[in-house]
């Protein structure tokens, strides 16, 4: 919005627009307060059924984009883990 519009229409439409965008984000954040925490626990639970690893060596990151968000899971697994596990048939 340029200065001319601001003078002509007043600043209330700017306030309204800023609030609508801000609150849309804050409401999403509130409704999933610990989505990452839940994902982390469940992913770790599944993997630990099959592979032994250090819980500290796990990194889970989420990037929220405009249309697509990505979930990045980085788990450091010690070498030779496959031998300790039964082969899936």
């Amino acid at each position: 919005m340029n200065l001319f519009n601001l003078i002509r229409r007043g600043s209330a439409p700017v306030a309204r627009e800023r609030l609508q965008i801000l609150l849309a984000h804050e409401r999403i954040a509130r409704s999933q307060p610990d989505l990452l925490g839940v994902l982390r626990e469940e992913i770790l639970a599944v993997i630990s059924r099959h592979v032994a690893f250090e819980p500290d060596k796990v990194q889970i990151k989420m990037d929220r984009g405009k249309s697509v968000s990505t979930l990045e899971v980085d788990i450091e697994i010690p070498n030779g883990f496959g031998a300790a596990l039964p082969r899936a048939s």
């Binding site: 007043g10 209330a12 306030a15 309204r16 609150l23 409401r27």
Partner: protein, 271 residues
């Protein structure tokens, strides 16, 4: 059946205490038995708004800690005998407000009053969450201004998660009270309009209190605005809001909308 109301906002300075006093007095004036409770431990002010500051002997914390019995802490209004104040403590630590203690006090008050109005402190900390804990309904006081609207949205989220009703899967009735509204500025697009605020917060409107010098005058003399000047614009708006709380169907007047052309041209004078 007693109704427990919380008057809340998140943001400070929007008119919670003013509105608690004005609505409490309006309901009492209509014949209801009303107790107003100040939850702002350490920064009490409801006593001042009611002109009862020199009559405080015992307070909410004294009652919770068993130092005083509840009836000893209740202060009856000098103008309306069915309006009663339970003041907050000015000196104690706010941690003295315990969940069990508040539950006991509210349960006891429910037996004696029609309306229990809890004046919440600003913020979203312990005092504010305890003030809303037992609420059947909430009055969210909002100014037509970005920070107030944002904080109201946050408080609405808390009402839906932190109250006893919410935890039982029930809903706390929510009412929006827009205060300090300046119709002329809203018309000129300088202030969020009523429709803007309602659309953003999507909460039913209880009333619109216009900005008015009467509100400051009332606080100067220690009287709810609904008693100091019942004919003033803010007082009438509070009386209408009180009747809506009682379930009456009162048409909503948006200040400024019935204003004539001359008024529009020559501006506005606060009531």
């Amino acid at each position: 059946m007693a109704q427990v109301l919380v008057v809340t906002s998140g943001k400070g300075g929007v008119g919670k205490t003013t509105s608690t006093a004005a609505l409490g007095a309006a309901l009492a004036h209509e014949g209801e038995n009303v107790v107003v409770i100040d939850f702002d431990v350490g920064l009490r002010n409801l006593d001042l708004m009611l002109g009862a500051e020199r009559r405080v002997v015992f307070d909410l914390i004294n009652v919770i800690q068993g130092v005083a019995k509840l009836p000893q802490a209740l202060i009856r209004d000098k103008r309306l005998e069915n309006l009663v104040l339970l003041p907050a403590s000015q000196t104690r630590d706010k941690d003295a407000l315990t969940e069990d203690g508040v539950a006991r006090v509210i349960a006891e008050l429910r037996k004696k009053f029609d309306w229990i109005i809890c004046d919440s402190p600003a913020g979203i900390e312990r005092g504010a969450t305890l003030a809303m804990r037992h609420a059947d309904a909430a009055i969210i006081v909002t100014n037509p201004e970005v920070s107030s609207v944002r904080d109201s949205d946050r408080i609405i989220g808390l009402l839906d998660s932190k109250t006893i009703k919410a935890e039982r899967g029930e809903r706390v009735d929510k009412h929006l009270l827009i205060t300090r509204y300046q119709p002329a500025r809203a018309t000129r697009g300088e202030m969020l309009s009523i429709d803007d605020v309602l659309e953003i917060l999507s909460t039913p409107l209880l009333g619109i209190i216009p900005e008015s010098e009467e509100v400051l005058r009332a606080s100067n003399v220690g009287s709810p605005v609904t008693l100091s000047n019942a004919q003033s614009a803010p007082a009438r708006a509070y009386f209408d809001a009180a009747r809506r709380l009682k379930g009456m169907d009162v048409p909503m007047l948006v200040p400024g909308e019935s204003r004539g052309l001359l008024n529009m041209l020559f501006g506005r004078k606060a009531a």
